[in-house]
Amino acid sequence: MEGFYMKRKHKESLTSLAILSPSIITLAIFVYGFIGRSVQISLLDWDTFTKFIMGAKDYVGLENYIGLFQEERFQTDLWNTLYFTLFFILGCLAIGILLSLILNNKPKGSYFLQNLYLFPMAISFVVTGTVWRWIFSPGRLPNDPRGINLLFERLGLGSLQWGWFTSTFSFLNFNVALIAVIIAAVWQFSGYTMAMWLAGLRGIDQQLIEAARIDGASKWQIFTQILFPIQKPITLSAIIVLAHVSLKAFALIYSMTGSGPNNVTDIPAVYMFEATFRSNRYSTGSAIAIVLLAMVGLLIIPYLVNSFKEE
């Protein structure tokens, strides 16, 4: 009897391995294999098409990485990523949480609004980028404003007009042109934070909040002392997801502003694409890819380790 059980268990695990094996094999080749290949290319000197074709393996060590970090464009890219990620996450959290708190009280039409706010997430970044490009195209100030600047003029708010994503002003390495892109990205993803928070809020025991209210807690206190701590894991998950979305904002930037005047809206992903496919600098492109991967890893791995421990 014992033997039969063992045999059956063995067979089961074999079956599951068989079922899993296609995805394991494809993952191994198309994800980890190619990551390995990118690492290898980033250590070679394949920065012309001829060298790429000839495929000679002349390793140059970390030269491509060192060169990259010395480049002004890449430094700008890193600053842009930092500020973009920061304001994007803060914006999505602030607006998303606010919306979820409002909708949690089930005001009239809350189901409709819930879907309305979540809807932008279903749209591709390219569409968002194209539309917001029209909105934020500044036109020629002051005589011929376009888009949102024209709206400001009609509303008598002419003093709010400015160059949006064409502005080259920068403050503490923050290129203000990014504001336009951040608004577009927050518009698209704050609904996601709202949905996550709303799901969490609906699971909280109402008695808890009632009790706090009886004890005389203000709304703000309920939020900071009860809701926010309970929702911490959800908030953390949202931050992780948003952070890696922000590193992959290629499609949004590419369709909305491109790298901009003097790279004010450039990000590493756009530079990676241009280095690899426009200028045939395959090794530099691979190095950027690996830096990006490391940045995502920096965000994701602690999260994975943490959730693994919890399990």
Binding site: D47, F49, T50, G260, P261, N263, R278, S279, R281
Partner: protein, 420 residues
């Protein structure tokens, strides 16, 4: 259990069959020819279709597979083509700019067949402008056939705007600055620019570079006769920086079409652009010489900044014989005179029928026959792609920062790194 096994087996079988069929489908039809290009926009698509019609009349049994990849100036198509060439899946013939884009990328790496023999066999080699064939040549062999020619160093103007402000078209570089200064006192934009895709600013810069170095000096940059630290190059940066003070403020939000449209709408006086802008102005309902004028960019008279689309024969093309027939059509007078009037460009052959072309294009054809040709950097003919992107970034920075010395230094560094 048996059921599961057979289900798994049938899935595997289906996948295998799909693979087999998809591969065999690629090599099945012998009577076709695949032509790869990025001609999907207004005018160019019609031109290509008309050329395909000419081909079909002569070779009714061969089906043309028109493989196009959309995207301005072939930005996306070039990446797709590279992947196909490297992956050993070349089209039968493909559009490529003559010069570095062809030679540096595909000829030096041994991916193209020489076609000098074919041109001699068809008796058309001496019908072409010999300077333009040189752009397609490497170590004495010709590798592609130029179909059309665009001119880069052209400046278009709104005649009404100039008349309203009593402006005479400038004749030299100094008077150009004076005219721009006068216009800047009015409410029109003196010089329209739309550089959201970067290359348009480089396009202006390269014409200034020709103006300062002269055609000889400019061509010398690419064969090493002109030094990268030549003081005249610095002058070009200085002059370019001056021009940038007269462009529209929202230039980085606009494309070249938007900039040309500004001239059309009377918002701007001048626009420096390749003569595809002439075709665009015509689609917007204008007649050359009537509503808009043109002149060579001040300082570049006698020079023809050339952008040429060519077709060649890749090694390992699936239907090389059909590809040769396509090339013969491209090289033929009928092919060139069918495609070019529609596309709004001029033929690379010098014996074309001038009555088929409008007043601007005829003027351009006359210049093409007698001017010194200079290959364009921005459009891939002069220098390797690595240099082009580096220069685009450099100029893009200069437009914003005005750091002439930094840009001049960067220029020398990039020349050393990518050109020689």
């Amino acid at each position: 259990m048996l059921l599961k096994k057979s289900a798994l087996l049938s899935v595997i079988l289906m996948v295998t069959l799909m693979f087999v069929f998809s591969f065999s489908a690629l090599a099945q039809n012998e009577n076709e020819v695949e032509i790869f290009s990025w001609w999907t926009g207004g005018g160019e698509e019609e031109g290509l279709n008309a050329l395909i019609d000419v081909f079909n009349e002569n070779y009714p049994n061969i089906e043309v597979i028109n493989a196009t990849v959309a995207g301005g100036a072939g930005a996306n198509a070039k990446a797709v083509l590279k992947t196909r060439m490297v992956g050993g899946n070349p089209p039968d013939s493909f559009q490529v700019h003559g010069g570095a884009e062809l030679i540096n990328t595909y000829v030096e790496t041994g991916m193209m067949e020489p076609i000098t023999g074919l041109l001699e066999e068809w008796g058309v080699k001496d019908k072409f402008n010999q300077q333009i064939l040189e752009l397609s040549s490497y170590e004495g062999e010709i590798y592609s056939i130029p179909l059309n020619v665009h001119r880069g160093n052209v400046m278009f103007s709104n005649k009404q705007v100039l008349a309203e402000h009593n402006i005479e078209p400038p004749t030299d570089m100094e008077s150009f600055l004076t005219v721009l200064e006068e216009l800047s006192q009015t409410d029109v934009v003196p010089l329209a620019l739309g550089d959201t895709n970067k290359w348009t600013a480089t396009h202006i810069f390269e014409t200034i570079l020709v103006a300062k170095l002269g055609a000889e000096g400019y061509n010398g940059l690419w064969n090493g006769e002109t030094a990268a630290d030549d003081p005249r190059i610095r002058e070009a940066f200085v002059y370019f920086d001056k021009l940038m003070q007269y462009v529209n403020e929202d230039h980085s939000a606009l494309t070249w079409q938007d900039a040309t449209q500004m001239v059309r709408d009377g918002e701007a006086a001048f626009n420096i652009m390749g003569d595809w802008a002439e075709g665009y102005l015509k689609t917007l309902g204008w007649t050359p010489g009537k509503q808009f004028g043109w002149l060579t960019v001040p300082g570049t008279k006698g020079t023809f900044m050339v952008i040429t689309d060519t077709f060649g024969l890749p090694k390992g093309a699936p239907h090389p014989e059909n590809a040769k027939k396509w090339l013969k059509t491209v090289a033929s007078l009928e092919g060139q005179d069918t495609f070019n009037p529609i596309k709004g460009s001029i033929p690379a052959r010098l014996d074309a029928d001038k009555s088929k072309y409008d007043v601007y294009l005829t003027d351009s054809m006359n210049d093409f026959a007698k001017n010194t040709l200079t290959p364009s950097i921005a459009h891939g003919s002069a220098a390797p792609e690595g240099f082009i992107t580096a220069l685009n970034d450099n100029i893009n920075g200069l437009v914003t920062t005005g750091d002439i010395e930094g840009s001049f230094e960067e220029f020398q560094k990039d020349m050393a790194e990518y050109v020689r």
